[in-house]
Amino acid sequence: MAKMTMIEAVRSAMDIMLEKDPKVIIMGEDVGYFGGVFRCTAGLQEKYGIERVFDTPINESAIVGMGVGMATQGMRPCVEVQFADYMFPAYDQITQEAARIRHRSAGQFSCPMTIRMPTGGGIFGGQTHSQSPEALFTHVAGLKVVQPSSPVDAKGLLIASIEDPDPVIFLEPKRIYNGPFDGHHDAKSVGWATHPLGEVPEGYYKTELGKANVFREGEAVTILAYGTMVYVAEAAVKETGIDAEIIDLRTLLPLDLETIVESVKKTRKCVVIHEGTRTSGFGAELIAEVQEACFYHLETPIVRVTGWDAPYPHAQEWDYFPGPKRVGRALVETVEA
């Protein structure tokens, strides 16, 4: 075991896969010489050479498109889109080529490509460096969508993603790259070094895709969360004293409905939280699934706490961010209803 930040854990996953499988390559903007804008790929070019870890020009569409071409020839490209906000030019390639080439070739070709993207806000990035576009991917048949909430999960999930036979969108919550963040932006930041989930095995291991993690067991209400919001939920639970069960989804697509349903049938109440905008956000899908599966077990309406339906603001970042106060209020309302 070693102490790792999420950045180091992600790097370790790529390091191991580059070592293990010559079909794996890393490409993206500034991932090689510079080592990545968040340093996730630092040192990998020096170790594996420019043929396997290399910089591309700034052109997300063709980066992803080339990745599809490589993957159909049996390579396993692990592509970085520098910010999730930059994926829009590549959205065509992701949704219409990567996600669908298996289906429309009736299984003759597949696209084993991983696309890593730092996601979410909390670093004053404003509207083009803070977005959480996961729902734009979960709406696409043929993709898998992953979002880890800790170094230990990030490494295991990224290795599983790179080895997966289908295209995986790997969303890295950048606010918790260096430490868990509970939404109290004015509090002193904490690093992963002192957190148990910063303990990461040094070697190869996989964390299975499609399996949620019961982050905290509880009886009063089920909270569905992923990424940064897992720690916001934890803070809200601590501050309200409500004995909530927190489920960290880890993989959004395919969704581990079994774990969710089991929990909601037990607690009979559910709060869904995410940072992305509310309308047609992933929370809407979660609520629909939960009510379809648990309607007769629910005692209260399902509540969601999300980012507002507005562009991600700069100055008012903390008014936008669904912090522990808002989550706590929803918990109290749900439990007391």
């Binding site: 052109n59 569409s61 063709a62 080339m66 080529e97 080439i101 070739s105």
Partner: protein, 339 residues
């Protein structure tokens, strides 16, 4: 998947020779004629309501794909847009499987999941039929990257039209292909019209072979109505690419006789323009004249080829109507790898 038949043209062993043999010229004639008759039949089946949705015919452009294919090596990849039936036949894919995909049957290359614009053959190194204008160019560049990475000596050929030549990702791809000297051949099939928009109404620089200049990619304009000229140009381009000098652009000046798709009002060009090309520049008639003038074949020989081709095409039309509809369960297969 589909019954074997003898539609496969012989691939690329001729590319070391300076000029094609008489047999090869006859083969080009047969290959072009197969595409033409196939497309005519597809048009008929469409008219009869047996093909639904989209169907983009390649009639008039046959020399392009046959000429380029004639100098490819085994393992070279081909990828194109939605006007793709000719490319598949040229790659050696069977007429039965292509026609059955048009009719959406189980015997189609994608078992009815793809339709006219989305067909593939791993065996023949055909990487699709793609319905989004220009998107295949980035994929083709990725195929070229994989060739270089694997050091397999192969070249990827990305076909796209004059319309796609204005798509941004084409230039993103050009830049990377040239930067990394990838073994990529870009074939612009300039058939003069992007749907109903003439090149002159859409492109500031109408000589599309020049589009690689700022990426340091050599380009050449080619008479795409002459299969032998296409072959020569492709041979030269491939020699450049296989020598490790990076990508090459060939702009094929060609012409499509039919509408963009099956629902084309054809108001954007004059009937006389089409008639003039058909009468004076047809790629099949041109080669036919050469074959007879050079006494490579008689009228009767060529009629026999036509007959043979019609048998293949008629058989494919029968197959495409008798192959069963896909099972309803196919809706959910091949979405992700089944476990």
């Amino acid at each position: 998947m589909v019954a074997a038949n003898a539609t496969s043209p012989k691939k690329g062993k001729s590319n070391s020779k300076s000029a094609p043999s008489n047999e090869e010229k006859l083969q080009y004639y047969r290959d072009m004629l197969l595409i033409r008759r196939f497309e005519e039949k597809a048009g008929q089946l469409y008219g009869m309501g047996l093909i639904a949705g989209f169907c983009h015919l390649y009639i008039g452009q046959e020399a392009v794909v046959v000429g380029v294919q004639s100098v490819l090596n085994e393992g070279d990849q081909v990828i194109t847009g939605y006007r793709d039936h000719g490319h598949m036949l040229a790659c050696g894919m069977e007429a039965d499987g292509v026609m059955a995909e048009l009719t959406g049957r189980e015997g189609g290359y994608s078992r009815g999941k793809g339709g006219s614009m989305h067909m593939f053959s791993k065996e023949k190194h055909f990487y699709g039929g793609h319905g989004i204008v220009g998107a295949q160019v980035s994929l083709g560049t990725g195929l070229a990257f994989a060739n270089q990475y694997k050091d397999n000596g192969n070249v990827s050929v990305s076909y796209f039209g004059d319309g796609a030549a204005n798509q941004g990702q084409v230039y993103e791809s050009f830049n990377m292909a040239s930067l990394w000297k990838l073994p990529a051949l870009y074939v612009i099939e300039n058939n003069q019209y992007a749907m109903g928009t003439a090149v002159s109404r859409a492109s500031a620089e109408q000589e599309l072979y020049k589009r690689g200049i700022s990426f340091d990619i050599p380009g050449e304009a080619v008479d795409g109505m002459d299969v032998l000229k296409v072959r020569e140009a492709a041979k030269k381009a491939l020699a450049h690419i296989r020598a490790g000098k990076g990508p090459y652009i060939l702009e094929m000046k060609t012409y499509r006789y039919r509408g963009h798709s099956m629902s084309d009002p054809a108001k954007y060009r004059k009937r006389e323009e089409v008639d003039d090309i058909r009468s004076h520049h047809d790629p099949i008639d041109g080669l036919k004249k050469l074959l007879i003038d050079e006494k490579i074949a008689t009228e009767d020989d060529l009629k026999a080829i036509d007959k043979e081709v019609r048998v293949i095409v008629n058989k494919s039309a029968d197959f495409a109507q008798t192959s069963p509809e896909p099972d309803p369960s196919e809706l959910w297969t091949d979405v992700l790898r089944e476990v």
